[in-house]
Symmetry: D2
């Protein structure tokens, strides 16, 4: 691997580097398992928690179609400081709805934390804390989240190297969390290559991260492609390439999603994708859960 | 699609743009079929034709494992003008060996043409002519190859947009070839993202090219990843994402390949991959051929 | 500008977008002036504050050669959580040394804040707070720093668009700071283009940011190029292209710098560069200060 | 330099690598000098030769303002095979006009050759042959042009590494030309960084190429930025950073240029720029010619 040296592996990636071929961290959160080489784990839910009813409905819908974990944004980082009426943010109220929905449906929940002052209260409700791409190298946040000891989903910044990404994971583990799941969500690519409005999924980084580290690695086909017709193909590709799972936006009426309406899957589309994923997993000696 | 405008589609991509959802070009070359939505076509063979015996052996090996087309380099573009003793080039002699190997094994052949003065003699022996990535916008070469009327495999330059790529295809069709197959072989990506020594496979470009154009699109997992352990995962991902096929380097003793020894698959590894591809294709209502 | 729409300018960049050709924010901090179109302002100092004596010596050295502001890292973000004995961090003690050095030399100081819990105490000592590249979209930090009302130096993330960068500036201004200076410090570029170990300076982004916004824009030739022989050429280029200033690493014995020893300029090299900058500025009707 | 190894320098870049600090190739073409460390050479002229009168007028205009070489496109590669009525191509007739204009004004001429079959006849009229970015790795063309022995202007492909670029130069020198001038014209950059419609000028590649090789290196601020207001700033930056010259589009009525009307400078703007360049050159102990 070009951008991670042997010196990095020994000196800087003391806890996340693999030291033998069969060394694997398996992260278990209730029914969700990441990294056992057999399971392909599907996290699904709304981009943003819009209401109590919405997130409970979605939780039941994705659970019944095979997801084993629920996602949902309570605090959403936005490029600009202004929110339209529709792009509201429920904050802690939203997290409580997500928590309730998870309990109703029997699904553990993951949500993004953006402010280190909220790590404590959010970790009481969330089963897994997500570090978003933009905060991948927000080291004080990594330290706070690491200290809590809960499982963490660490997204790769769209401008970050695999080396930077593993360095951020090292911060988490060094501070106390052993349960870190890495998540590829696309990289900036030359403008002339971009047929859509967002980021190119780098499956080779998934493979590289799994060769270099013992941590599980999943893919986010929704926030990377930002284009509904690309989500299922990239989700299938992630499984076929060997990722440990995916995290997906699902919405009852995708075009009406409060945030990112271009990328969410409908319940039907999600169901169809799950059937395809189960088939592919079976061929590869794996299972979808 | 951001980088291809409606004006491009109507005015500049007159022949390669899709004008209806079900418009598809199907390219048939003997047993190989590209673009019928059902078939996933596997082209395999040596990076470089090294000897008559070698290429006949490889042809039989890939045929028996399910490939329907044979690849092989007779003229290889190199970054520097100096060839080591090992990186020799058989030229027309190599193409004749490839042609013979194809006939022996019952496989049509594809080989790269780099010099427009050789288009005539090469097209007498090759069933399909390949335009390499570096020549994607060598317009006089595209014109000569287009005029021959034979099927063409058009690789995407690692620095080219989907727009540039389709523009090059338009040159081919405008000059007389209707049978063009597009081939994604990876893009330059920010250095900090590159865990290996080459290019990032852009599966979203495959999806974009298929949405914008009626031409078939395949993937080259060998020359993009340049890393043996990444080839099969990316090949499976290409199928899962919806590509029309792949083109692969296969060598009896990969470490001893004259050119690019880091990326070729052994016969066994190729056989295992073909079994996986057949399984995945079955799940998706497709077949490997 | 491709990636900033008219809608962004009117709706999302309400405070930082230029609404007329001659609208300019001029940021004045003691002897340092940013954005008056006439002044090219030079900020210089150590990458990291290593000791009281060191930073006082550097402050005097850069002041005597024409710098009007002092830089120095007290809290340094590192890719990995482990610091070598040499890469120590003085923290608040370092900031106090920097503050003292500034007063001794008569230079205002700028230092990076990485933890929102330190914004209060750091703003008591620093004349300008720097948001580093990695924290460009750490929105809670931007909000805290904005509320303090002190001048801010906002570095562009190496993976961020001009749109993202201006969006971050909008957060600062929206929360209370009107004195924001933007700083280009290089972008990730395709690996095949990278002749050095870091980032490509994007002078076109400087031009774009100045066309789109009324804020001053400076360049960091040290942390972008990461290569001593490239620093002076890129510093001169920044002036020639129209930037409002530069921020530079200067060290008495560059090879012995505790952090980033490959990029700092010696006192002599800094003096020579300042002479060149004064000459170029004079040609362009500007002055170095 | 990361992407050029010591092995490349010794084994693959046998003729273009610098073997001592003061080794410099100086290319002299009539009044134009490239690479003597003192001269900053300005090539100017129309993107495309539109008529005999036009190119003679432009030749006189740029000569009187200080250019020492005339550029002009006779054969223009286009992304799509269709030319609008306005984007006509005069071909050899255009080259004869350019040749006449050069003689009238006393300027040597440079023009792009895209088809290896025309190298012979074009080299009879042109003083320097240009290899365009898209043909940088069209090796048969490089061989033909190298054999002619005339000076060559070798543009860097927007997706090519410095290593690839120097490799292409090695082809030229290996085949017989010793007078090669390299030309940086921008690279593909992550879409999120692109404030304009084209390529980011990589001045660090200019510096790297000059460190690694003894060949002169110039910059094309017109075809890279593709935006008139950016041309002069980047031209000044190229001089300030240490390039050996620039090549510029100049047109009497820029908005009416047949090809690329967004980037050409008017006579007045060109005159103003030349005055600025002379001033900056003087400061740096150089001269514009």
């Amino acid at each position: 691997m070009k951008d991670v040296s042997a010196q990095d592996l020994a000196g800087n990636l003391r806890r996340v580097a693999r030291t033998s071929d069969d060394q694997r961290t398996v992260v278990r959160i209730g029914p969700a398992t990441f990294g056992d080489d057999r399971t392909f784990t599907v996290i699904a839910g709304p981009c943003t928690v819009e209401s109590r009813d919405q997130v409970i409905d979605i939780a039941r819908a994705v659970k019944s179609r095979g997801a084993t974990m629920l996602r949902g944004g309570a605090f959403k980082p936005l490029t600009f400081p202004y929110r339209s009426e529709k792009m509201f943010e429920l904050g802690m109220e939203g997290l409580r709805y997500l928590h309730e929905a998870g309990r109703v449906a029997g699904l553990p929940i993951v949500t993004e934390v953006t402010d280190l002052r909220r790590v404590g209260e959010m970790s009481e409700l969330a089963d897994m804390l997500q570090i978003g791409a933009r905060n991948m190298q927000n080291f004080p946040l990594l330290e706070e989240v690491g200290r809590v000891g809960k499982p963490v989903l660490l997204k790769r910044h769209f401008g970050a190297s695999v080396r930077d990404w593993l360095g951020a994971a090292e911060y988490l583990v060094h501070n106390g969390t052993s349960d870190v799941v890495l998540c590829e969500r696309g990289i900036v690519a030359p403008h002339t290559h971009v047929p859509t409005s967002r980021f190119i999924v780098d499956l080779q980084a998934v493979l590289a991260a799994k060769e270099l580290s013992h941590l599980p690695v999943i893919v986010d086909p929704s926030h990377s492609t930002f284009k509904r017709t690309f989500v299922a193909p990239i989700a299938r590709a992630a499984l076929a390439a060997g990722a440990d799972g995916i995290i997906l936006d699902v919405h009852p009426v995708p075009e009406q999603a409060a945030v990112d309406p271009l990328q969410a899957l409908s319940y039907d589309a999600f169901g169809t994708l799950m059937t395809e994923l189960r088939g592919i997993a079976g061929v590869l000696g794996r299972q979808v859960a």
